[in-house]
């Protein structure tokens, strides 16, 4: 019971991680792949945030009478990682737009077929 409830967040991390990873690999639709990647990355963000949490701790802002603070570093790191994730998504979506323009489809197997014909 302890492992189930005490590590609740980590279970969620694992479920999200595997879901996202599976979508990114198994789906043929390029936008769905990007969504899968996003879920995959988000699970990692959640993992960092969870490990920074100190039970009973508040936001890490100096204040009289407060002794316990949450670890501030993971939050800061994840802010950066979120920016990286947004940039990756932006690049990926821009690519998808251009793929759609030049191939007329964004299904992976149709793209592969078009490439085989072209080659």
């Amino acid at each position: 019971m302890e492992t189930l409830t005490g590590l609740f967040n980590y279970w969620i991390v694992i479920v999200l991680m595997m879901t996202g990873f599976y979508i990114a690999i198994a789906r043929g639709h390029l936008v769905k792949k990007v969504i899968g990647l996003n879920i995959f990355q988000t699970s990692v963000f959640l993992m960092y945030i969870t490990m920074g949490k100190v039970r009973g701790g508040t936001a890490p802002i100096l204040k009289d009478g407060v002794e316990t603070y949450t670890h501030p570093l993971p939050g800061v790191l994840i802010l950066t990682a979120i920016v990286v994730g947004v940039a990756t998504t932006a690049v990926a979506l821009a690519l998808i737009v251009r793929i759609k323009e030049s191939y007329g489809t964004i299904e992976e197997d149709e793209l592969a077929a078009a490439d085989r014909e072209g080659a």
Partner: protein, 490 residues
């Protein structure tokens, strides 16, 4: 000024990139970008010299002392990687204006320069930083800018190739992020030196998981067989200049990250005794060498042939790591550099060919030995270095690798290494045969590539010959780096 060298090494190209976008005008952008790249090259020489003279150089970013602040730490291996990334970056960018003129629309040149400089920033940053999260951020800077660069390729297949490498690259980088997170969870620090002191990986399950995620993530990034699927298309359809730069630097920097994690952070006793990393990497490396070389023989597109050969060469570097002896590791590290100049030179020669005949298919290179004698001569020299003929840089690294394998008693590995050179002979020969022994198409005349393309290609190929004889710089630096790495965790 000089005490801020480690920071300037990164800051110069990083600031120059957005300025390129602002300048816009081609006449201004090219000289500016070139100045930034050569400044970076110059400072990397000073950095390497200082590190070799007086040992690792620690620099506190913004004056905040490690382990709380971000530390830039250049040791022999790091400074060596920074040096060759900057060198290749500067030389390839010198080559770029003419070739890019042909392959990328004029309105996008300032964006090309910006992405190129950002890619240089990221790759150098990975090598110089002493902070694990910084490694991830620089990795993504170099990766995102390289996606932009690859997608500039003229054919539409460049787009699908980019998307494929984006998906695999992001998965790889996220795996590395997970590994870094788990390490942070155990030690509460991100500074590499500090972490190495605090981390007691023995008997910790979290350490095992972190190690597994990092190994797979880094292997994806360096295109180790069988995680190489993103590489051949990306190298084939990217613009010539981009292929030359990325093939010469990006996968090598990932190998360097691997070295850092294995030897500095986890320590070799954990990586090789507790975790069977050597027993995992060695078969993968050997399979990569043999399979990729064999596949290369049957390619009809010469750029794709060279891309498969790159996968095989990554196998040699990883083999050096998996031997985990000083000689083997020296071979692996020296091959980082030797392969960078060889492959850089070969892809620049391909760029010359693409510039003149507009194609990189083997069929279209008929009679090129007579039509473009200098370019093809450079190509042949580069090919000899891929094979590892004595007198070229490729020989030096293979020598150390074979020696390392024999010293550790892996004589079948040594035999396989020699056999793999035969495969290299086969794929190099197929191009040579087409270029020298087939008749050129009717009506073609001798038309050598312009000098501004030939000179940088000459410089790199001349370097492969030079470093085939003069090994004191490369092999000695690699030896120092290898002994520092094997010296255990700092």
């Amino acid at each position: 000024m000089s005490e801020h060298l480690p920071a300037l090494q990164i800051v110069v190209p990083m600031i120059a990139a957005p300025i390129c976008v602002l300048l816009r005008r081609r006449a201004l952008v090219w000289p500016f970008a070139l100045a930034a790249a050569w400044t970076s090259f110059g400072s990397s020489i000073l950095l390497l010299r200082r590190v070799l003279q007086s040992g690792p150089w620690s620099y506190a970013m913004g004056g905040w002392a490690a382990p709380y602040g971000i530390e830039y730490r250049a040791d022999a291996a790091g400074a060596f990687v920074v040096f060759f990334v900057a060198a290749l970056g500067a030389i390839v960018l010198t080559y770029a204006p003419r070739s890019v003129d042909r392959e990328i629309p004029r309105g996008k040149h300032h964006l090309f320069c910006a992405a190129y400089l950002l890619c240089m920033t990221g790759l150098q940053g990975i090598a110089i930083t002493g902070d694990l999260f910084n490694v991830f951020v620089f990795l993504e800077i170099s990766a995102l800018s390289s996606y932009a660069l690859i997608s500039l390729g003229a054919e539409r297949r460049a787009l699908t190739a980019t998307f494929q490498s984006l998906v695999m690259g992001t998965i790889g980088a996220t795996f590395i992020l997970i590994g870094v997170g788990l390490l942070f969870m155990m030690t509460g620090t991100l500074n590499m030196v500090d972490m190495a002191q605090r981390l007691q990986p023995e008997g910790q399950r979290t350490a095992l998981v972190a190690f597994a995620f990092l190994s797979v993530g880094i292997a994806t990034k360096m295109a180790l067989f069988p995680l190489h699927l993103w590489l051949p298309n990306a190298y084939t359809y990217a613009p010539s200049v981009v292929t030359a730069f990325l093939a010469a630097t990006s996968t090598k920097v990932s190998v360097y990250i691997g070295l850092r994690f294995i030897f500095h952070i986890f320590g070799e006793s954990f990586a090789f005794e507790r975790m069977p990393l050597d027993a995992t990497l060695m078969p993968l490396a050997l399979m990569g060498i043999v399979v990729a070389s064999a596949v290369a023989i049957f390619q009809t597109n010469v750029k794709r042939l060279l891309a498969y050969s790159s996968i095989a060469q990554i196998g040699y570097m990883v083999l050096g790591i998996s031997l985990a002896t000083e000689t083997g590791l020296t071979g692996g590290i020296v091959h980082l550099f030797n392969h960078a100049i060889t492959k850089g030179g070969l892809f620049l020669a391909m760029g010359c060919i693409a510039y003149r005949i507009g194609s990189v298919r083997r069929e279209d290179t008929r009679g090129l030995g007579r039509r473009m004698p200098v370019t093809m001569f450079l190509w042949v020299l580069g090919g000899l270095s891929l094979i590892g003929v004595p007198g070229t840089a490729g020989f030096v690294s293979k020598w150390y690798l074979v020696l390392g394998a024999l010293q550790s008693g892996f004589w079948p590995v040594a035999v396989l290494l020699l056999l793999s050179s035969l495969l290299a002979v086969a794929y190099v020969w197929r191009v040579v045969e087409t270029a020298y022994f087939r008749e050129p198409p009717e009506g073609s005349k001798r038309e050598e590539a312009p000098l501004s393309l030939l000179l940088p290609a000459c410089a790199l190929i001349a370097a492969t010959v030079y470093f085939g004889f003069e090994t004191s710089l490369t092999a000695d630096v690699a030896k120092t780096a290898a002994s520092q790495l094997l010296g255990g965790r700092p």
